[in-house]
């Protein structure tokens, strides 16, 4: 196999845009799903209007676009366990965690117990997490 598979880096994918006004959200998700196959340490962050990507009850029939919000629930199956949502972005938009989908993963090290993927963090905390990353992609 190639050298690429022997290096493990911390990759963070930052999602900043609303889900349907532009294609960034969907194409970011496409990168994440591919990246999951590369055995890297992946985390996702949702800031600014990006927090709308995770909201429940999305209905897209009227705008004629595919509703891809269910794909976020599959992230746990791709072993993506760290999904950071910035607290200030949620609050500014009048949202709470209850407005977001419940995303979970199975923890291999804890008898496959189902655990929450979403971690609510302040902008300050998220900044520190970003600093620890090797690769930051922002969409």
């Amino acid at each position: 196999m190639s050298d690429a598979e022997q290096i493990t880096k911390k990759f963070m994918y930052i999602n900043r845009k609303a889900p349907y006004g532009t294609i960034y959200a969907w194409e970011s998700l496409e990168v994440v799903l591919i990246a999951a196959a590369f055995d890297q340490d992946i985390s996702l962050a949702f800031i600014d209007d990006g927090v709308y990507q995770l909201t429940k009850g999305q209905k897209t029939e009227a705008i004629g676009l595919k509703n891809f919000s269910a794909t976020y629930r599959a992230l746990g199956d791709y072993d993506i366990q760290k999904i950071y949502v910035e607290k200030e972005s949620l609050e500014t938009r009048g949202l709470t965690l209850d407005d977001l989908q419940h995303l979970v993963y199975e923890d291999e090290d804890d008898d496959y117990a189902e655990k929450d993927s979403i971690k609510l963090v302040s902008a300050d905390e998220l900044g520190k997490i970003m600093e620890e990353q090797n690769v930051v992609l922002s969409f």
Binding site: V31, Q40, L137, S138, F139
Partner: protein, 130 residues
């Protein structure tokens, strides 16, 4: 240093491609290595040879092609993003039954794995976008 470059916006509409070009050119002049330039989202539109900008404007596409030729750059266009936006090479033309191809010199079409690989293999991945 070894850089990976991600270009997320198309030419002319947005400055991201210009800035990425200037960054890559300067980095090479200073002796750095560019592992790969990856074009995603509307960035794939940087790779069509059919643009004809006015004579008194820069030619964004030709400029990338020339830089790639001079420096043996690996410039990769994401296949999924390209298919949506009509950026087509010979292989894609045949595979999708299209009547033309339009990929510019120095670009190649490949998968998103090439972006992830650039992130793994480069010392820094620099993102140019909105």
């Amino acid at each position: 240093m070894k850089f990976g470059i991600l270009v997320n916006e198309g030419p002319y509409q947005h400055q991201a491609s210009d800035t990425a070009y200037n960054f890559v050119k300067s980095a090479l002049e200073k002796g750095h290595e560019i592992y790969r330039v990856f074009f995603y989202h509307d960035g794939v539109n940087n790779g069509t040879r059919l643009t004809s900008p006015p004579q008194d404007d820069r030619n964004v596409v030709d400029r990338w092609s020339a830089l790639a030729k001079e420096n043996d750059l690996d410039m990769v266009i994401c296949v999924a993003a390209a298919q949506r936006r009509g950026i087509v090479d010979q292989g894609e033309m045949e595979r999708n039954g299209k009547d033309a191809s339009n990929i510019a010199e120095g670009f190649r079409i490949s998968g998103l794995g090439q972006l992830v690989e650039a992130g793994i293999q480069s010392d820094r991945l620099v993102v140019f976008g909105d």
